[in-house]
Structures are given as C-alpha cells and as structure tokens.
C-alpha cells in the first residue's frame, strides 16, 4: 500500500520543496533582527527560483496521477505553476521597498506568500475534491492574513474581515456542492466523477451540486454577482498584498475552474455553459460600467479585474479545446498586465504616500516620460488595443466564442470592451494631457525599474510575437 501511495512521488517534489522551505524560512526569520530581514527576502526568492527549475525539470508531455489519484501532474499544471512562481517572484521584488517604507517588511509577508504559493500549486494539481479544497483553503487563509498585515490600518482590517466572512461562505457553498456531487456519484475523484456522470439518472441533484460548485468558483474568481469582496479588498489591502492577490491566485482560480468544470463535469457542459454565459455577461457589464465611476486606481483595477474575468469565462464556456487554450492564454497575459499595473502604483508610491488616486497620475509624462510610456502600454493592452498582448487575448476568446456560433455573445463582449476602453483612456489622458500637480521626481530602485520595464516590454513583445505562448497553451490543453 505504501509502495503504491509513494509511487512517482518525485512528481510532487516542487510542492514538498516549497513546504519545507517555507517552514525553514519561518524558523530562520525568528532569529533575524530587522537589520538582517532581507535574508528572509532573499531566501524566499531563492526558493521560488529553485522551485521553478524543479518544475521545469519535471515537465513532460504525459499525465500522471499520484497519491491515490488525488494529485495530477500534467503539462498544464507545470505551465501554470511556472506562471505562479514568476508572478510571485516579481510580486516579492516589487513589494520589497514598499514594505520597508511602511514598516511591514516582516517575515510573515514572505512566509504567508510561500504557503499561498503551495496552496495554489495544490489547487493546480488537484484531481479530487479533497485536494482541491485543501489547496483552496490553504491559499485563502494565507490571503486573509496578508490583507490584515497592516494591523493598525482600520481599512485593511475591515477588508480582511469582509474577505474572510465572504470567503468562508463561498467555501461553504463549494463544499455543499461537492457533497451533493459526491452523494450522486459516490466519489471525490474528479476522473471517476466524470465517468459516472453519464450513468446518473437523477439530474436534479447534479444540477444543484453544479450550481453550488460554480458559485464557489465564481466567488474565488470574482465574477458578478459574487464580486462584492473584490473592490474592497483590492483597495483596503496594502498595495503589495493587492499585487499578490491580483496576480498569482488568478492563475490558481483558473486551474480550479478547469479542473472542476472541464476535468470533472465536462459531461454537463450544456448546463454550465448557460450559467457561465450569465456570469460572463454580467461580469463584463458591471465590471466595465462601474469602473468608470471610480476615482481610486486600485478600486478601478478591481472592477477591471472583474470585467477581465468575464472575458476569461468566454473561452471556457465555449467548451472547446481551442476555448480552454484561449482562456489559459488570457489568464497568463492578464496576470502579466496586472503585475505591471500594480507595480506602477508601487513605484509611484513613497513613504507615507499611496499613489492610488487617479489624480496622482496627472502629468506623469512630464515627471517621467519613460514610466508614462510603459503605463500607456499597460492601459492600451488592458483595453485590448493591438499591437499589445491584451488584444490577442481578447481575440482568442472571441474566436472561441464565434467558433461555437455564439456570435451574439461576441457582439455583447465587444460592446462592453468599448465601454471599458473609456476608463483606460482616462488614465492615459491624465498622464499625457493634464498638467502635473506634483513635481517631485519619481525615485525607484534600479532593479525595480528594470523589472518593471521588462514586464511592460513583454506586454508589447508578446503582442508582436504571441505565437509561442499561444502554441504552448494550445499544446498543454490538448494533452
């Protein structure tokens, strides 16, 4: 029994490595003084780099199930995990100086971040309800704590509380749905469930289970009408934490969506397609329209995230491999854009000053033309204007929707993308057309400047040469 359980255990080495390192860093951090705190930072970054190569080394075209079929290692999981490492690495790098300036440069941020990464990895590799839930809770608990990191800030505590309560409800919903599906199929294993589904006669309970599962997932993704927590958390949390929440966990949430709906419940595609259409359309509508009214950039980006989730769902709901690949491309490029946009806020902020108001971007072109130019890339990319990568992301999901004859849905989506273009344009307007209110030059560390430039440059570069990433997404989804 032990032999079979530990068969191919090497496929889980990255997870084991991250777990051990997170525990070690937790202990090491205890013995560090504030002066030496950067050792924690360096160790965390080293952990991510090593994990990156471990996962890269394990990359193969085949699919393996280990730990009694509860853990899956397939090409998609490897690629998504690599995405998580990169996003987290860049997040830590962007956050370092920000945290120092606010006296929250503590071990907890990095340790919680690493445990969060572990949770995401487990979600990405889950092939049973149990592992999926385990990973999700591990991630969520880390995020709740991180939001409350600045414990003296009332707005942060409020948003942490809100996030926790709503998150707990959503987890409950998800569990409830899972229990129904378990009741009908008699298994927690997603593979078994997908085989059993066709033989189930009583579809009512299945439908109920499906709805509750989707509610849980929609909450984690932040799809309307389960999006209420998102703007508050984005705005309330310290920007470094918002940066973390807004990037890597989106990849994990996408994986959860894929594992549950495609891996487990593809048989019920006809049912969940309708639900996802409603979620997608309302997310695009509410996200894009409400974003126009925001004056806080973090909050605006939160609504923009909601609308992007709507687009992401378009690819999945088409139910074709092409669509899944399109959604995967979408989420990876979205994370890239999201990293850059919150990175910009962090760069603009300084001790005792958060650059999270729209007006803080006034006249950026005069203060620092280079950053303004990069920010213009990000905004046009989010609006879906070529030649930036956001255009190809939108094009690929729209193509997936058109290919299954949902032309009206594509038309609705583009109409909302026009509405969305307005608030991205407003940022560019503030940066380029308005006079600067503040004249203080923007200072930032050299490594930050380079990584940010690389980050924004990639948005253009992948926009010009999207083929390799598109082909990769297609290839891993096919297998």
């Amino acid at each position: 029994m032990t032999a079979t359980l530990l068969n191919n255990i090497h496929l889980a080495i990255p997870e084991i490595f991250i777990l051990s390192m997170a525990s070690i860093i937790l202990v090491v951090d205890l013995f560090l003084t504030d002066k030496n705190r950067h050792i924690t930072y360096l160790l965390s970054q080293l952990t991510l780099v090593v994990a990156f190569f471990l996962t890269l080394n394990l990359f193969s075209g085949d699919t393996f199930y280990i730990f009694s079929q509860t853990f899956v290692a397939d090409p998609m999981s490897s690629v998504l995990k690599l995405g998580v490492y990169i996003a987290t690495f860049v997040t830590f790098l962007y956050s370092k100086d920000y945290l120092k300036e606010r006296n929250i440069f503590c071990g907890e941020y990095f340790v919680l971040g690493l445990f969060g990464v572990l949770g995401m990895m487990i979600m990405i590799s889950a092939s049973s309800f149990l592992t999926l839930y385990l990973g999700l809770e591990l991630l969520s608990l880390c995020l709740y704590a991180m939001v409350a990191l600045q414990r003296d800030s009332s707005i942060a505590s409020e948003s942490a509380m809100k996030y926790f309560v709503l998150g707990a409800i959503a987890s409950g919903m998800l569990l409830y749905g899972m229990s129904m599906l378990y009741g009908v199929t008699g298994s927690l294993d997603l593979q078994v469930i997908s085989q059993q589904l066709s033989s189930v006669t009583d579809k009512t309970i299945l439908a109920f289970g499906l709805v509750f599962v989707i509610v849980g997932v929609a909450f984690k993704l932040g799809a309307v009408p389960f999006h209420m927590w998102l703007p508050d958390v984005y705005q309330g949390a310290p920007t470094a934490v918002t940066l973390f929440i807004a990037t890597a966990p989106k990849i994990a949430a996408f994986a959860m969506l894929m594992r549950l709906l495609v891996g487990g419940l593809l048989e019920m595609h006809a049912q969940w397609q309708g639900i996802l259409i409603i979620l997608a359309v309302s997310s695009m509508a509410i996200g894009n329209i409400v974003a126009i009214a925001q004056t806080n950039l973090k909050r605006m980006l939160a609504y923009s995230a909601i609308s992007h989730v709507g687009f992401l769902l378009l690819g999945v709901l088409s139910g074709t491999e092409e669509g899944f690949a399109a959604s995967m491309f979408y989420i990876i490029t979205y994370v890239l854009m999201s990293l850059a946009s919150f990175g910009m806020i962090i760069i603009m902020s300084r001790k005792g000053f958060e650059a999270d108001k729209l007006d803080d971007f006034k006249g950026l072109n005069e203060r620092n033309p280079w950053f303004a130019f990069m920010m213009m890339f990000i905004m046009f990319s989010m609006a879906g204007v070529p030649p930036f990568v956001g255009f190809w992301a939108k094009l690929s999901v729209l193509k997936a929707v058109v290919s299954v004859d949902l032309l009206w849905l594509a038309a609705v989506a583009v109409v909302f993308s026009i509405i969305g273009a307005f608030y991205y344009l407003r940022i560019i307007k503030l940066m380029y057309f308005d006079k600067a209110v503040e004249t203080q030059p923007i200072e930032c560390a050299t490594d930050l400047r380079w990584v940010f430039t690389l980050n924004a440059g990639l948005i253009l570069f992948i926009g010009l040469m999207p083929d390799s990433l598109l082909a990769l997404c297609k290839q891993v989804v096919m297998s």
């Binding site: 072109n365 033309p369 130019f373 213009m376 046009f380 204007v385 070529p386 030649p387 255009f391 190809w392 094009l395 690929s396 729209l398 193509k399 058109v402 290919s403 032309l407 594509a410 038309a411 583009v414 109409v415 993308s417 026009i418 273009a421 307005f422 344009l425 407003r426 560019i428 307007k429 380029y432 057309f433 999207p466 083929d467 598109l470 082909a471 297609k474």
Partner: protein, 505 residues
C-alpha cells in the same frame, strides 16, 4: 532591382523604428536634432516608396511586391503584404504627406518635439501597413494601432477642448472597428483562414453577407466618415494640431474608403448590391446636406472638416453606383469610371484638404484664432499666402484644371449612367462647394481689414512657401494630367468589377 527587396516592409518599419528611436534618444536643449532626424526618416521613407510606383506593373491584376511570412501559426495569421493599383497610390500619398507634415510642424511645435515627430512617423508606418496588408488580422492590428498615436497627437498638442475631441475620436472609431473584428472572426470560422484574398472567393449566404456588410459598414463608415456617424470628425479636426488635421483628412479618412474596396465590395458583393440604395442615399446626404452644413460654419477648420465629409460622399457614391450602372447598361467602363473617379477623388482630396488645413494652420500660428470673423483683408498683408489659399480653395471647389475637378467630374459623369437624379444631386455640390469655400475666402482673404491684429501678420516664410508650393504643384499636375494616376489603377478596378459582378450566393 528593387523587386527582390522587401520594399513594403521597409516602408512600414523604417518610420516606426525611426519614431521609436526618436523617443529613446537622449533629450537635448532646443531639440533641433529630433526635427532633422524626423525629416530625414520621412524623406528616406518617401524615397523607399518611390520604386513602388516606378516598378509597378500596370498590366497585371495580381498583388505585387508581395511578402508572405507565417506570423502566428496557432491562428494561421501571416505577415502577408502586397499592393495593387488601388493601394499603391494611397501609400505614396501617405509617405508624401508625412514629409509635408514634418516640415509643417517644424517651428510650430515647441513642446515635446521628439514625441510629436515620433507619433507622426509611427502613424505613417501603420497607415502604410493598413494599405498593404493582405491578411485580415494583420490589417486589423495596423488599423487599430493607428488610433494610439492619433489619440496622443490630438490630446497632447490639440486645442482647448482636446480631451473631449480625442476621446470621442477614439471611442467612435473603436466602436466601429470591433464589429469588423467579429465579422472577420466569423469569416475565419467559415474559411479557416485570415487571408483577405481567400475571403474574396468564399461563398456566403445572403443573410450572412448582409450582416457582414453591416459590420464592415460600421467600421468603414465611421472612418470615412459617412453621415450620420460623422460627428467625431469636426470635433477632432478643430481640436487637432495642424499636422494632425492634415493626416486625418489626407489619409485616415481614406482608410475607410479603402476598406470598402478591399473588404465590403469583394467579400460581400451580393449584400453590397442589395444595400446599394442605402449607400447611395447616405453618400448623397453627405454630399448635399453636409455641404449646406459647411456653409454656415464660423470656424474655418470646422468648415473644411465638413467639406471633407461632403467630398468623401463622392468617393462612396462612386463606389456604390457601379451596380446600377451595370444593371442599366451592362457597361463595365461606365462602372469603372465611377470607381476610378472615387479613387482619384480620394487622392486629390488628400492633397487639397491637407493643403487647406495647412493654410488655416499658417493663419492660426499668427493670430491664434480659427474664427472667420477675426480675419478679413489678409491679402493686404500676406499676398503670397493669399495666392496659395485662393488656389487651394478653387481646387476644393472643383475648378477644372485642378485635381479636385477630375475625380468629381468622373463620378458625376458615371452617375448619369445610373440615374439622372443622382447626377443632379451630386453635381449640385459644384455649386454648394463653390459657395462655402469661396464665401470663406471672401470673408477671410479679401474685404476690409476689420481686426487690427491682421495688420501684424507676416507673410509666409520660405518653409511655409515650400510646402504650399509643392502641394500646389501636385494639385495642378494631377489636374491637367491625371493619366499616370488613372493608368495604375485601371486593370485593378476592372478586375474588381468583374469580381463583384459574380454572385457569391
């Protein structure tokens, strides 16, 4: 010798790369450098584009100077370039006008010169890209990317109300384009290809054709612009800096008309036939009604903007009367005359409207007003300038001997073969056009000096003389000798007509 060079790619990427370099260069005081660099790049691009004309084979219907490299294999998108008799003159117009615009912005732009010049160079490359793309996705990328530099140009160097104008411009055109994107995706799902030439051969049902036609119409009608989606144009023109207005009027408006020839007519010939009454009506409304609107404008730039809309009505009229001519007489030459006339009108309008905006720009630089009432008697203080302005105004009104006459005359002539009343209404523009243009000239150039400030106006300097003279020469040249222009497009237009005569149902 030039045939082996990837000439089109060079014409596209030289200005784009040059523009980006200009942005990256270290900033120097006085920034004379960036002006000279921009001028050199634009002249180099123009020189590179000349072989496109001299080595052009006027006897073949196929695409020339083609280049086809796989770009995004997952989507079957190719970097496929090529030109025919329709796109070649437009590319030359683009490279030519960019040189003029760079010179025109020489002393006028004092703020962020390198960004200004870079925006125009990048725009030039993107516009050439639109005209030479043979792949729908590539076309769309260039088409949309073009909005970015124009948005910046109007917003940064524009007039008082620039933010409103530029956002309106962006959203309006973005709105039109996204529906074209859906149409293209639909065509892709039917043909499994993004090649425009494949779409030309694709069989499509009538309902689908009509929907595709409408989607294209939204994109192209906004760009042309046709009545009633023209309202962004006066705003954008009025607020844009002179160079922006010139590029908008001279080239960007042509993109929409070009789209009709490259997409709407050949891909959806039956829908175009079915809906030609709509297109003709909208065109005639533009010609007549917008002409009257132009008559009452107080703002010179607005007046020229409306006159542009009215003139572009001729272009679309020329394109869409072809079905009725073919039905009435089966006369291919008559229909070809309409389309050729439309294209000639596009080119000629590019020169004339560009020149008109430059003239207004010259006056604006001196008095900082665009209002007609602030001027009067300019001829007394700027005689050389007045001569040019009167000449361009005559060309705008369609005086024989100028290029403005040729295109309008061809379209009116061919519309007689379609329907007398079309010709009657279209010809009325010769009167309305003369009325609004000459009335403006009367109030601005001639008459008594009402405004004290006019007496302080200096006549044009050498730089201004140069670009106005070059434009005047071109307008005159094509006016008396349009043959080189008509010859290059003849075979392509006949081929297009033969193509659209065949039903694709």
């Amino acid at each position: 010798m030039f045939l082996d060079w990837p000439l089109l790619s060079l014409v596209i990427w030289t200005p784009i790369v040059g523009g980006l370099l200009l942005l990256a260069l270290p900033k120097k005081e006085g920034s004379v450098n960036s002006r000279i660099i921009a001028l050199l790049i634009s002249i180099l691009t123009f020189i590179l584009s000349i072989p496109l004309y001299t080595d052009f084979n006027v006897t073949t219907v196929g695409m020339q100077f083609t280049q086809n490299v796989p770009w995004i294999e997952s989507f079957k998108v190719n970097y496929h370039l090529g030109i025919d008799g329709i796109s070649m003159p437009l590319i030359l117009l683009t490279t030519f006008m960019t040189v003029i615009v760079v010179i025109a912005g020489w002393e006028v732009i004092k703020d962020k010169v390198e960004q200004y010049m870079a925006a125009f160079l990048i725009m030039e490359g993107l516009m050439v890209g639109v005209f030479s793309s043979l792949d729908a996705a590539l076309f769309y990328v260039f088409w949309e990317a073009l909005l970015i530099p124009m948005f910046i140009v109007i917003g940064v160097w524009g007039g008082e109300n620039r933010v409103y104008a530029t956002i309106k411009f962006f959203l309006y055109t973005f709105f039109g384009s996204v529906f074209m994107l859906i149409a293209l995706l639909y065509l892709y799902s039917q043909s499994n290809s993004f090649e425009i030439l494949d779409y030309h051969q694709l069989k499509i049902g009538l309902t689908a054709q009509i929907l595709i036609f409408i989607a294209f119409l939204l994109a192209f009608a906004v760009k042309v612009p046709m009545w009633p989606v023209h309202t962004w144009l006066p705003d954008a023109h009025v607020e844009a800096p002179t160079g922006g207005s010139v590029i908008l009027a001279a080239i960007m408006l042509k993109l929409g008309a070009y789209g009709f020839l490259r997409f709407s007519l050949p891909i959806t010939p039956d829908a175009s036939h079915e809906l030609d009454w709509l297109m003709i009506t909208l065109s005639l409304i533009a010609v007549v009604y917008i002409g009257f609107v132009a008559l009452v404008q107080q703002d010179m730039k607005k007046l020229i903007a409306y006159s542009s809309i009215s003139h572009m009505g001729f272009v679309t009229l020329g394109f869409f009367i072809s079905y009725q001519i073919l039905e009435n007489s089966g006369n291919l030459d008559g229909a070809a005359l309409g389309i050729t006339g439309g294209i000639v009108q596009m080119i000629s309008h590019g020169f004339i409207s560009g020149a008109m905006f430059l003239c207004v720009g010259v006056m604006y630089d001196r008095l900082h007003s665009r209002q007609i009432k602030d001027y009067g008697g300019v001829v007394n203080h700027m005689p050389k300038f007045a001569a040019f302005m009167v000449f361009f105004a005559m060309a705008n009104a369609g005086l024989p001997g100028t290029s403005g006459f040729v295109g309008e005359f061809m379209v009116i002539l061919s519309s007689f073969k379609a329907n007398f009343w079309y010709a009657f209404l279209a010809a009325s523009t010769l009167i309305i056009g003369a009325a609004y243009t000459l009335w403006m000239i009367k109030r601005v150039i001639f008459g008594k000096v009402v405004n004290e400030a006019v007496t302080t106006m200096q006549d044009i300097n050498k730089r201004e003389f140069f670009f106005l003279a070059v434009l005047a020469f071109t307008v005159l040249l094509f006016g008396v000798w349009p043959a080189p222009l008509v010859e290059v497009m003849d075979v392509t237009v006949v081929n297009l007509l033969q193509h659209i005569m065949q039903s694709k149902l």
